[in-house]
């Protein structure tokens, strides 16, 4: 194994993505065109935006399983309000406020009630979905009102020739990167994920930081939802019941943000997203069945984790001697 040197999972995944790219470029005519590359990134940019949201929570040693459900319901509610005649700006503000409220509740349950994040957010996702479908609107697909041109641009427009979803992904990633690196709160987030007890004793406001991390995730989720809705001119709330949340976790874990918290950064999310993007795009061009695609995705994730474990063992002695 030493020939490889010390590679991180991020580098391995990036290498895999490049290899796949090369393979597809050689085997598939039309893969390596500017148009296809833009399409490729565009198709995964929403996954990437959600990945950034999930990534921030996972770095803080949490997980947010309500992310996709909350995104679907809050954006669908916004569209419903706009359709009912509310000005778009106000509708968006209400949708965002709803997202933030749910994020706050998630954070409260995890930080103050001290429920494990996986259960708190799982239950919250189900509750939010049910609440939305029962109280906020009745159809499971809510369409964008015809007159919302500015909103539509968010998903279908272009900025300097680049589709706006890609720009939004870039913007969200950049802001999240700045947040993690240059703000006190961003640094605190990492300490909470690394070692909660040590963070507390050092005087880090640990519980407010946890509240914050779920609220940020909800906000980014809302942005991702808006881009989704604008791209297809509607919000299909059934994504809340799809496997999308697992794809988001896949992107985060594949990129190398450890579920044990504290590790990785936004770069990992981008790398993970790119690999998934290349893979999905190539498989779609090759016309591989959806079910087979799932098998391939699963195998890729396992491979990445296995290689990472072999190259970066938790403990040198156990790696050389095998687990006892």
């Amino acid at each position: 194994m030493r020939v490889f040197g010390r590679l991180s999972q991020e580098q391995i995944v990036f290498g895999l993505a490049v290899l796949l790219c090369l393979g597809f470029a050689l085997a598939l005519p039309g893969f390596l065109t500017a148009q296809n590359i833009l399409n490729l990134v565009r198709s995964v940019s929403i996954l990437g935006i959600l990945g950034v949201a999930m990534g921030l929570v996972v770095i803080g040693r949490g997980i947010d399983l309500s992310l996709v459900a909350l995104m679907a319901i809050s954006v669908a509610w916004t569209l419903q309000l706009a359709t009912n005649g509310m000005p778009m700006g106000l509708a968006l503000a209400l949708g965002l406020a709803f997202s933030l409220a749910v994020g706050l509740l998630n954070g409260f349950l995890v930080a103050y009630v001290e429920i494990p994040a996986i259960f708190a957010t799982l239950a919250m996702g189900i509750a939010v979905y049910g609440f939305g479908r029962y109280v906020m609107f009745s159809l499971d697909v809510v369409y964008l009102p015809q007159d919302a041109e500015a909103f539509r641009w968010l998903g279908q427009g272009r900025l300097l020739g680049v589709p706006t979803p890609i720009c939004m992904f870039a913007l969200v990633s950049f802001l999240a990167f700045l947040f993690l690196r240059y703000t006190h709160q961003g640094r605190y987030l990492r300490t909470v994920g690394d070692n909660l007890a040590a963070a507390r004793i050092s005087g880090v406001p640990a519980r407010p930081v946890i509240l914050m991390q779920y609220m940020i995730a909800a906000t980014i989720g809302f942005v991702g939802g808006c881009v989704t809705a604008a791209s297809v001119a509607s919000m299909n709330t059934r994504v809340a019941n799809s496997t999308m949340i697992y794809d988001v976790i896949l992107v985060v874990v594949l990129g190398g943000i450890g579920l044990s918290g504290g590790k990785g950064g936004i770069r990992n999310v981008i790398v993970g997203t790119l690999l998934i993007g290349v893979l999905l795009n190539g498989m779609t061009i090759m016309d591989i069945q959806y079910t087979v695609q799932n098998v391939i995705k699963g195998v890729i994730l396992l491979t990445a984790i296995v290689i990472d474990t072999m190259l970066n063992p938790r403990d040198e002695q156990t790696a050389q001697q095998g687990d006892i």
Binding site: H184, R187, A198, S202, G203, G262, Q320, I324
Partner: protein, 497 residues
């Protein structure tokens, strides 16, 4: 007579870095062999080679005059070599008897059967442990008894103890020593790794000193004294600098910074009262379980005192009640933990980031955004002040030795410019050189007028550092001594009775 167990010219390297280099080591039949050295001297690696936990990269292990090679620890155990670790390897959710018979090659055990057998077996060893008790509910000393019983149950002829007394109270230590005597009478050979030199001198037949992965000296214990071992360990004489009686003045008490009255928390802290003064080191001595750590944690807001009749804590005469540590930190009360890995440092972060977190959380950072330059500057200043040995401040804390990790944790606390620092076991698991440096630093703090509280279960440390000594017993501060007009026996007497 052939030696029981031997390592011949053994080496072990990790990617070219030698943990143990060309060391030969002999364990005779029925002897107690102490292995001493600073942290990172290669003691643990050496014994792990003997016990089959790691395989030597060069050299051979000989058992009864024949070369052997153990692939796993269980093979070594079958050959009669058992290792008892510092962190116990028992299953906490199983009972004592289940743990004892866990490794037997039998798919099923009848519980009643093993309880009866376990009872008889433990009694034959004169261990007072209930075989039906859950291991998780036992104290450190009893856990160790179970570990030892398990080794004896597997007919171990050689038992390796890695820092066996580190977590034991003095009474438990005493029991442990008499146990070693009994094992020796049964013909069991023992390797005993320890930091505590007095213990090595007290119970061993021979002593081997290691330094930087190499063998320094092996000789009969009678030919050693403290001074000689320390000199061999560090290559220079540190003893006066460390624990020698120094002619020093007791610092006079400054202003009363902290005053605690009738503090209570559950059944760990019971209605205790004490004060801490500025410009002075107040030492707290107490056995493990005496509530000293808990009392300190309540003061620093890490734990909450009882809601009703919880007592009063006053900082500069002002009553304070912290529910989380953050306001305490902002008021200048800093707690430096006894368990740095669990609640001290951030292992995924660099030295600079760790120290900077302390500065940020303590409100000691100039800009509201993180400035890399300021981080470098603060980290550079503190690593220099505390003499942290690392290539640069971008090294990750997890890669440092125990002593340097502790210094980073201390730096992370001191960067917050505290008025009252509580050091809980400041030199646990720290090598001899770093102990001296940390002690110097603690003295400096007190000289600068900071109120310092040092909690330790190591008597020489308390005696050497403290201007006043408080004795904690059963959740209460029970006695106070002048730092210079007392001795080890007096303190121990107060702490145990």
């Amino acid at each position: 007579m052939t030696a029981l167990l031997e390592l011949r010219n053994g080496s072990k390297d990790y990617r070219g870095v030698y943990a143990v280099k060309d060391v030969s080591f002999t364990l005779e039949q029925g002897e107690v062999h102490a292995l001493v050295g600073e942290n990172g001297a290669g003691k643990s690696t050496l014994t792990k080679m003997l016990a089959g936990v790691v395989s030597p990269s060069a050299g051979e292990v000989w058992l009864d005059g024949k070369p052997v090679s153990f692939a796993t620890p269980s093979e070594a155990l079958k050959a009669g070599i058992a290792m008892v670790y510092q962190e116990t390897s028992l299953v906490p959710s199983l009972t004592v008897a289940q743990n004892l018979y866990l490794m037997d090659d039998k798919p099923f055990h009848r519980l009643r059967g093993i309880y009866i057998a376990g009872q008889q077996f433990l009694q034959s060893l004169n261990f007072h442990v209930d075989p039906t008790a859950l291991v998780g509910a036992l104290g450190a000393g009893q856990k160790q008894m179970v570990e030892i019983a398990r080794a004896v149950h597997h007919n171990a002829r050689a038992i390796i103890f890695d820092e066996p007394t580190a977590t034991l109270t003095p009474e438990e230590k005493h029991q442990f020593f008499s146990l070693v005597e009994r094992l020796k009478k049964r013909g069991v050979s023992i390797i005993f790794i320890s930091h505590a030199l007095e213990e090595a001198l007290q119970i061993s037949d021979r002593i081997t000193v290691m330094r930087d992965g190499e063998h320094v000296i092996t000789d009969a214990t009678a030919n050693f004294d403290r001074e000689k071992i320390v000199r061999a360990m560090v290559g220079r004489s540190l003893s006066d600098e460390l624990y020698g009686k120094q002619d020093r003045q007791v610092r006079p008490a400054g202003a009363k910074v902290l005053s605690v009255q009738n503090l209570s928390m559950g059944n760990m802290v019971r209605n205790t009262s004490f004060s801490v003064f500025a410009g002075q080191i107040t030492g707290v001595f107490g056995l493990i379980g005496s509530g000293r750590t808990e009392a300190a944690k309540v003061v620093a807001g890490v734990l909450k005192r009882d809601f009703f009749h919880g007592g009063q804590v006053r900082l500069d005469g002002r009553p304070v009640r912290y529910r989380v540590p953050r306001p305490a930190v902002q008021d200048g009360i800093i707690y430096v933990t006894e368990d740095r890995k669990l609640e001290g440092f951030f292992e995924t972060m660099t030295i600079a980031e760790n120290i900077f977190i302390g500065a940020m959380a303590g409100g000691r950072v100039k800009s509201s955004l993180v400035s890399m330059g300021e981080m470098k500057q603060i980290a550079g200043q503190w690593t220099q002040a505390l003499n942290v040995k690392a290539i640069n401040t971008d090294a990750r804390v997890i890669e440092l030795s125990g002593g340097n990790q502790q210094k980073v944790v201390v730096a992370k606390a001191l960067v917050q410019k505290p008025r009252l620092v509580i050091f809980d076991e400041p030199t646990r698991g720290v090598d001899v050189g770093a102990i001296a440096e940390i002690h110097k630093l603690i003295n400096q703090l007190a000289d600068e007028g900071v109120a310092v509280l040092v909690i330790s279960s190591y008597l020489p440390e308390i005696l050497q550092l403290s201007d006043r000594i408080l004795i904690c017993r059963q959740g209460r501060i029970v006695e106070e001594f002048d730092g210079q007009k007392t001795d080890e026996e007096t303190i121990m007497y107060a702490a145990v009775h």
